[in-house]
């Protein structure tokens, strides 16, 4: 700041002027964009923060620390964490198989990975129930061994897993594609087994993208609604997710409570994304140590 007066005079010109002469349409495109961004993105978001700020800290705390809200957070976060863990592992496996191997059905598998993004969540939700309730194909199989998925916490995990599969695969896949084979070959000549090559050579290189994929999957799972509510059972304290509780409070016209819960979920998701971003860039820096 102290060097401001030493700055070249150019900065005092309107920065708009510089390019206006080159590419036309500055005010048209930026004007359109700002109008849209304000009306569609910023104004509604400010509504949530305005509503939250209306709420005193004591009220906020009372809502958040109620048994039912806490239980819904516990259910949501634990299921999201579990689904993320599962997807991180299987996402990596799917990406690895898609990048490294040729096999019949590979293109179909590749397309299938994107299915959860394309299929409406409500459709996924009823499809999972159809499969896993006690009369469904999987449900009958599982109940034979005494397992129950539909209308339990495991059902929530399953639905969250379904909707966030693509994150785990698609973030890791391009990194795997870019790996050169020679480091892995060198490791093999040095006596490493296949899993050691993976563990010590491949995995460290995909680790940053792995963190990113996992955090995206987690954030998505925290907020997932459509796929979950059909299979969750929605029992307060047991299988009620936070998004559903927000919905219930809304139907009771209890906007402050809905906002308090929503704001908290939003902050947790943003916190996870930002933390993962920092962790990811640290890991990347470590990976390319000194190359800067």
């Amino acid at each position: 700041m102290t060097h401001l007066d030493a700055a070249p005079p150019r900065t005092f010109l309107s920065p708009f002027r510089l390019k206006r002469h080159v590419m036309p349409g500055f005010s048209l495109t930026l004007g359109t964009s700002l109008l849209f961004v304000c009306l569609i993105i910023l104004l509604p978001l400010s509504g949530l923060f305005w509503q939250m700020s209306q709420l005193g800290l004591a009220d906020y705390w009372r809502i958040i620390s109620s048994e039912r809200t806490l239980a819904s957070f516990r259910v949501t976060i634990s299921a999201a964490a579990f689904a993320t863990l599962f997807n991180a592992v299987f996402g990596l496996l799917l990406a690895y198989v898609l990048v490294r191997y040729k096999f019949p059905g590979k293109r179909l598998l590749d397309a299938l990975v994107d299915l959860p993004f394309a299929l409406p969540t409500a459709v996924a939700g009823i499809a999972l129930v159809a499969l896993y309730d006690k009369n469904g194909w999987m449900g009958t199989l599982l109940s034979a061994v005494g397992l129950k998925v539909a209308y339990t916490w495991w059902g929530i995990v399953l639905a969250m897993m379904f909707t966030s599969v693509p994150f785990g695969v698609r973030t890791v896949q391009p990194v795997l594609e870019s790996l050169k084979p020679d480091a892995e070959e060198a490791a093999r000549t040095l006596g490493a087994r296949d899993w050691q090559v993976f563990r010590h050579i491949v995995f460290p290189q995909v680790w940053p993208s792995f963190i990113t994929g996992a955090s995206l999957a987690f954030a998505r799972s925290l907020g997932e609604f459509g796929a979950v509510i059909f299979i969750a059972g929605n029992m307060p304290f047991k299988t009620e997710i936070a998004s559903l509780l927000i919905m219930i409070r809304l139907e009771e016209y209890d906007y402050p409570a809905a906002s308090a819960i929503a704001g908290t979920i939003l902050l947790i998701a943003l916190f996870v994304l930002v933390a993962a971003n920092i962790a990811q860039s640290r890991a990347t820096r470590h990976l390319h140590k000194g190359s800067s």
Binding site: D182, A183, E185, L190, A192, I201, H286, H288, G290, S291
Partner: protein, 250 residues
């Protein structure tokens, strides 16, 4: 410890890139595979390493048939053309890698591994680089790390794919000398792939001249100059004789 290569034939699709190649390598010998680019040198070296497999022929080492032995079980130290260092590991970790990968029963203790790494790095005169990462090294230093890493597994044979091609001429000579002296100190046999005759003549006990997937001639540098077996060899080695006679060889 000797390597026998018998009738190795390798195809890429319909292209025959190694045509019934046979070579007998004596224990401790330094061999150069010399030939123009595309003659099949790298393919032969990778086949010896077990990184790819030939359609025909056999490899045996000390009388043991190793044709179908996995690369990790051959214990041949390999230096890759671009060194293939593990960029996310320090120099010391790179060198320790082979020892750490051993089965628990054969693995030295962590203390022994680090002592061994220090010894090796000192022997290669790069002890001061132990904590650096590959991206912080010069080309010549990277090559030394790659070589040290390959020597750390106490290899039965050293395989080198154009290890000098990425370096500028000034460092080349230096490193040639230290490669040869390290190899002799360890007493391990070595196969060097190169398209540079000067390099082959300076380093190798015997040179296999390759062209189009075949070994044209396999002999000592002096004999290659004296009695080239074909016009190709004579032409390819043109000028190398003068170098040899100048007495600058090993």
């Amino acid at each position: 410890m000797s390597l026998q290569i018998q009738n190795i034939s390798k195809y890429y699709g319909a292209n025959l890139v190694l045509d019934a190649v046979s070579l007998d390598i004596e224990p401790g010998e330094f061999i150069a595979l010399l030939g123009p680019s595309g003659s099949g040198k790298t393919t032969l070296l990778r086949t010896i390493a077990g990184l790819q497999f030939a359609e025909g022929g056999t490899l045996s080492f000390d009388g043991e048939d190793i044709t179908g032995l996995d690369a990790r079980e051959r214990r041949f130290g390999m230096v890759f053309q671009n060194y293939a260092l593990f960029e996310h590991m320090s120099v010391a970790q790179n060198v320790a890698f082979g020892l750490k990968m051993r089965e628990r029963s054969a693995r030295p203790s962590a203390k022994d591994i680090s002592r061994r790494v220090v010894e090796l790095l000192d022997m290669a005169q790069i002890g001061h680089l132990a904590e650096r990462f590959p991206s912080q090294l010069s080309g010549g230093q990277r090559q030394r790390v790659a070589l040290t890493r390959a020597l750390a597994i106490e290899p039965r044979l050293l395989l080198l794919d154009e290890p000098f091609s990425a370096l500028d001429t000034r460092v080349r000579k230096d490193l040639r000398f230290s490669l040869r002296s390290l190899q002799q100190k360890v007493g391990v046999g070595a196969i060097l792939v190169t398209h540079d005759q000067e390099e082959a003549f300076e380093l190798a006990d015997r040179i296999a001249v390759m062209a189009d997937g075949k070994i044209e001639q396999f002999d000592t540098p002096a004999n290659l100059i004296k009695k080239p077996s074909s016009p190709f060899v004579a032409e390819f080695l043109e000028g190398a004789g003068g170098y040899n006679q100048s007495g600058a060889g090993i």
